[in-house]
């Protein structure tokens, strides 16, 4: 294809996105669109899968059967969400194994929030309330993204995820209505999860080089700062209702703007964790790689069994 023909296709492509046409896997697309989507969708998938680790750790220690069943269902959902997303990325021509390889070698990132530890039961409440709350805000914005398979996966995920946040908030509510000690536990969890949750929306707009292109492709419908503000505005009143306080002395409702003003995020910490120096980066990767390598014989055995059955069927038929 000549350069001029490609240019022409690009113009048609941009126009399709402009009029909210969805792009499907076999449609022509610019290489950069394909690569950016593979990167974003696979990292989203990795986040779901790694996100099972901090919570999975608490399934056997949940304080009641009701809490245990709910947490188990939530973690199972996250596995499912990872699978929807991996399948969406595969439609762009990358294999599942390549994506795992990128995760395991550190070439692909996942959400930094999962590099923080879940130390107490209240953390499970805070994760559902804050981390899933932040994820939902990000994901609702993605339901109308331009790439069809990604948008469809997002719609399904958003439908399933509202229970995650509600179960988290209910845990917080129960603790906050309990003993002094339980309430202190809830406060401590909020203290540790608040700032990392705000970081989930990514760097400030002026430090986010991909934002303009992603907005154009409708891979992003709102900027990082807009989504972060939306999260703060909706979450602070929920903390008030719990009777615990957000660990930000500068947090204050601004009646002129109708939004909360808030203090500076520790961006050094943000970049440290992104670069692999968070509290649990090493542990998370060891768990993932260990599961992949430890499960290799099971995958091989299943494949060998399937091949043997197939051969038997062929032999019987002939």
């Amino acid at each position: 294809m000549s350069e001029k023909e490609v240019k022409n296709l690009e113009v048609i492509f941009e126009a399709r996105i402009e009029r909210d046409d969805k792009i499907e896997p076999k449609d022509w697309m610019p290489e950069k669109y394909r690569k950016t989507h593979i990167r974003q969708i696979s990292q989203h998938a990795h986040s779901e899968i790694v996100g099972m680790l901090p919570e999975g750790n608490w399934i056997t220690r949940a304080p009641s059967l009701r809490r245990k069943a709910a947490l188990l269902a939530k973690v199972q959902d996250e596995g499912g969400h990872g699978l929807y997303l991996y399948a969406a990325a595969e439609t762009l021509g990358i294999s599942r194994e390549e994506m795992y390889e990128q995760l395991h070698t550190g070439k692909a990132k996942y959400s930094s929030i999962f590099n923080y530890p879940a130390i107490t039961w209240a953390d499970i409440g805070a994760i559902g309330w804050l981390v899933d709350g932040a994820a939902i805000i990000n994901q609702v914005a993605l339901c109308s993204t331009s790439f069809g398979p990604y948008a469809r996966a997002m719609v399904r995920i958003c439908k399933e995820e509202s229970f995650h946040q509600r179960q988290g908030y209910e845990i917080m509510l129960t603790l906050c209505r309990g003993t002094e000690e339980q309430k202190a536990m809830a406060q401590d969890a909020l203290n540790r999860w608040w700032w990392p949750s705000l970081m989930m929306f990514g760097p400030r707009d002026e430090d986010s080089p991909h934002t303009a292109q992603s907005m154009k492709w409708k891979l992003k419908r709102k900027t990082n700062d807009e989504l972060r503000q939306q999260f703060i505005d909706q979450t602070v009143p929920q903390a008030d209702l719990l009777g615990i306080s957000v660990p930000d002395p500068e947090l204050k409702f601004n009646s002129e703007t109708g939004h909360y003003d808030f203090g500076e995020i520790d961006w050094d910490e943000f970049w440290q964790v992104v670069k692999g120096h968070g509290p649990c980066n090493k542990e998370r990767m060891e768990a993932r790689v260990g599961a992949w390598e430890g499960g290799a014989w099971v995958r091989d055995a299943a494949m060998a069994y399937a091949e043997k059955q197939e051969k038997r069927k062929v032999a019987k038929a002939s």
């Binding site: 449609d27 199972q76 959902d77 699978l83 399948a87 599942r96 299943a302 494949m303 069994y305 399937a306």
Partner: protein, 94 residues
């Protein structure tokens, strides 16, 4: 030599009376495992009463680049639609 599990497409009937609809894809070693995985991945909330799985390599798909030859012939055939025919208002229920 290790082989990766093949890709399968999953179709789910939400309830009797409706057709099976494409829900997504997954990897599995064989058809029985694909059905079980499809149950766990795509019907955790009573989304279905029946599942079909088919290995993706057996699907033949049309190519969007050929959409011209493929679908344009239908566009000019407005006489295939009821609104093409002018009838007096007195004719009811037709």
């Amino acid at each position: 030599m290790k082989k990766d599990w093949p890709l399968w497409e999953v179709f789910v009937r939400s309830k009797n009376g409706l057709e099976h609809r494409h829900f997504g894809s997954l990897h599995a070693a064989d058809a029985a495992m694909a059905l079980e995985n499809a149950r766990d991945v795509y019907t955790r909330r009573n989304e279905g009463v029946s599942i079909w799985v088919v290995e993706s390599k057996y699907i033949t798909a049309s190519n969007p680049e050929d959409n011209g030859e493929m679908f344009e012939p239908a566009q000019s055939k407005v006489y295939r639609h009821p609104t093409f025919y002018d009838l007096p208002d007195e004719v009811k229920h037709m």
